[in-house]
């Protein structure tokens, strides 16, 4: 039971990483088909050989087109919503007004694509980079990906940062890029000052940079229209009024936004695969039967021991009967002792259980979980088309395998159940033992002394 709970806790850890602490439901929508072109960014490369009047060794010539506009040199830095379509500004407010919704906040999960094109024929082409950026609704700090992070340095956003060029960055991203509080990070050609660094639970790829939602809306470009995202969001994070309302919230949102994709934690749970899920299934199936077997064995042993104890005390019961004790009183005596023993045994078992849990936590094997990226940080997939050539496009749906530490969890319910079972065991065994003792004729019981 504890193992099963531990697996569930491991799953919850994965989901928490995917989802954020206070978020019960996320709402997204498919991106609109782009007119005239399949990708917001397309690239092609050509390599010119040394011509007759050529100036040297020849060079690469790259051309990148964004929303129909092509570039052959300079730095291209765009902030795009690649994986999700956009909602109107009022969507989050509409969702927030639904009956079973406690809170709702909009966010923008974007990708900042940066390509530095060679300035001359001899220049080396640098690989394109992509950074996942989250436009965070500062007025709802408990919703969205940032809510799940632990601030390791600096500070998080305040209301005063609503329109400021400030950013909070992920700890792994900061380490990889040698960033610290006070450093700057460039998003859509705009420098943001880093005010804080957050550490996210080990799971899928969290956003690398968090910026105020208003700034993301101002700098982002809708790839479908090539226009600004001012007032738009592409994800709505929702908290249900209670856990039991999540299903109702899903239905209400699906009714309000028929084309939206509404995802709850239970939907995400089905996407958690790998050894954590396998372990959950194993613990659920095998563990259940093992628990039943262990329970039967424990009952049998307890009953046999109690009956053996009663058998040893038969002369004692015979003496009490000779003294005129009622059978009922003797049964009560045996029963009371058995229940007390059961209670003490149960409490001792709980203590041993805690010790066992501590040992399991120490020696438990590490599990892994495969989770789909929920943060939208799809990244930019690049392929080299030839010397100096580059092809750039949105990434396919990404998955990540993360280590999940296994632990056996002990809940108040498990403890209560354990003590209750111990009491029931004592009661049953005591009843049987007492019944046998009460049935004895005094003379027969006393004869056992000899």
């Amino acid at each position: 039971m504890g193992a099963s709970s531990g697996v569930k806790a491991a799953q919850a850890k994965v989901l928490r990483a995917l989802y954020g602490i206070g978020t019960d439901v996320t709402v997204t929508t498919q991106p609109k088909a782009r007119s005239g072109q399949q990708r917001p960014i397309s690239g092609q490369a050509s390599q010119g050989g040394p011509g007759p009047g050529g100036s040297g060794s020849g060079g690469a010539h790259a051309e990148v087109c964004i929303n129909g506009k092509c570039y052959t040199s300079g730095t291209i830095d765009t902030l795009l919503s690649e994986d999700h379509g956009l909602f109107g500004a009022a969507t989050a407010a509409q969702v927030a007004r639904l009956h079973d919704v406690s809170a709702a906040a909009g966010g923008l999960l974007l990708t900042d694509n940066r390509i530095v094109l060679p300035s001359g024929s001899n220049s080396q082409l640098t690989p394109p980079t992509s950074t996942s950026v989250d436009g965070t609704d500062i007025s709802h700090p408990k919703l969205g990906p940032l809510s799940n992070g632990t601030l390791t340095s600096g500070r998080t956003f305040t209301a005063a940062d609503k329109n400021a060029d400030v950013a909070v960055v992920d700890a792994n991203y900061a380490t990889a890029n040698k960033l610290k509080v006070g450093s700057t990070v460039t998003v859509a050609k705009t420098k943001f000052t880093i005010i804080g660094i957050v550490s996210q639970p080990e799971a899928s790829s969290p956003p690398e940079v968090y910026i105020p939602l208003a700034r993301a809306q101002a700098l982002g470009t809708d790839p479908a229209t090539g226009k600004s995202m001012k007032g738009d969001v592409n994800t709505v994070y929702v908290t249900a009024a209670s856990a039991s309302d999540i299903g109702a919230v899903q239905q209400e949102i699906e009714h309000l936004l028929p084309h939206a994709t509404v995802t709850s934690s239970s939907d995400l749970a089905s996407q958690v695969t790998g050894s954590a899920a396998s372990a959950a299934k194993l613990a659920g199936d095998l563990g259940k039967w093992l628990a039943v077997l262990v329970l039967i064995a424990a009952f049998a042993v307890a009953s046999l021991l109690t009956m053996a104890a009663v058998a040893r005390r038969v002369p004692e019961f015979g003496t009490l009967k000779a003294l005129g004790w009622r059978s009922r009183r003797i049964v009560s005596q045996v029963l009371g002792e058995s229940v007390t023993t059961g209670l003490i045994g149960g409490l001792a078992g709980v203590g041993l259980g805690f010790a066992g849990v501590a040992i399991i936590d120490k020696i438990a094997p590490k599990l892994s979980a495969t989770v789909p990226s929920a943060s939208g940080g799809g990244g930019l997939q690049t392929q080299t088309a030839g010397p100096g050539g580059v092809f750039a496009g949105p990434a396919a749906a990404s998955h990540a395998t993360v280590a999940v530490p296994m632990s056996a969890s002990v809940t108040a319910g498990v403890i209560a159940l354990a003590v209750l079972l111990a009491l029931c065991g004592g009661l049953l065994a005591g009843s049987f033992g007492g019944w046998r003792a009460a049935r004895l004729r005094p003379a027969a019981a006393l004869a056992r002394v000899a």
Partner: protein, 241 residues
């Protein structure tokens, strides 16, 4: 417990009347008669010693007289109650109020103190706690163990344990004291001490005492000696007035 009175028992009326009492055990389809067609009267205040070889029915007779077992046939009248046919509840009540038992192996509860062991005899009678403690202390005082009340049996010698058992038998002020080889597990000095104590208590309290023993020296102290042989009782000595 008042033990100051010095009454020599004056057996007069019959406390027990046994007519055609038999006890037959069945084992593996065989019938084993332990007591056969026993006719016997025991007067109130009498001391009857029962002797006989092992397996000839002494203990069975004692158990029948003490309401611990029922005869297979016959009538066993005790103070107007036929213990052969009375309900189990009735027999239990008679047992609780009228019979005190002393066993060869003492039969004390090992986890209880001397005081608690003696007190156990008063619980079925519904005696109030304070009175129980008072009577227990008096009973233990009367057997010379007033200073051992908190000792558990394991902390007492064999003689002391039997004294506790005697106190337990007497604390309820029974009409009959039934003793099954009370000195069988004791050395000679302790045996004399215990028999002396029982003799004194019998004389002082006007008890009816039925004592099963192998020891002829002890038996000779009784008013009557009955010998059990193959389930039949024959009286060998009768010094009653």
């Amino acid at each position: 417990m008042d033990i100051t009175h010095q009454t020599v028992p004056q057996p007069e009326t019959a406390l027990y009347r046994l007519a055609g009492v038999s006890k037959i055990y069945r084992k593996g389809g065989r019938e084993i008669p332990a007591v056969r067609d026993l006719d016997l009267e025991i007067r109130a205040g009498e001391w009857l010693a029962v002797q006989g070889k092992t397996g000839h029915g002494k203990t069975t007779l004692l158990q029948l007289l003490g309401g611990l077992d029922r005869p297979t046939r016959g009538r066993l009248d005790f103070g107007g109650n036929d213990l052969a046919t009375a309900t189990e509840a009735r027999v239990r009540k008679v047992r609780a109020s009228s019979f005190g038992f002393i066993f060869q192996t003492f039969n004390l509860i090992p986890t209880l103190s001397a005081q608690e062991n003696v007190e156990a005899a008063l619980i079925p009678l519904g005696v109030h706690h304070a009175e129980r403690r008072e009577r227990v202390q008096a009973a233990l005082d009367s057997v010379g163990l007033g200073d051992r009340v908190q000792h558990v049996p394991g902390e007492l010698s064999g003689g002391q344990q039997q004294r506790v058992a005697i106190a337990r038998a007497l604390v309820k002020e029974p009409r009959v004291l039934l003793a099954d080889e009370p000195t069988g597990n004791l050395d000679e000095d302790t045996r004399d001490e215990i028999i002396g104590l029982l003799d004194t208590l019998w004389r002082e309290r006007g008890l009816t005492m039925i004592l099963v023993t192998h020891d002829s020296a002890i038996a000779r102290r009784a008013q009557r000696i009955g010998v059990m042989s193959r389930g039949r009782l024959s009286i060998r000595q009768d010094t009653r007035a």
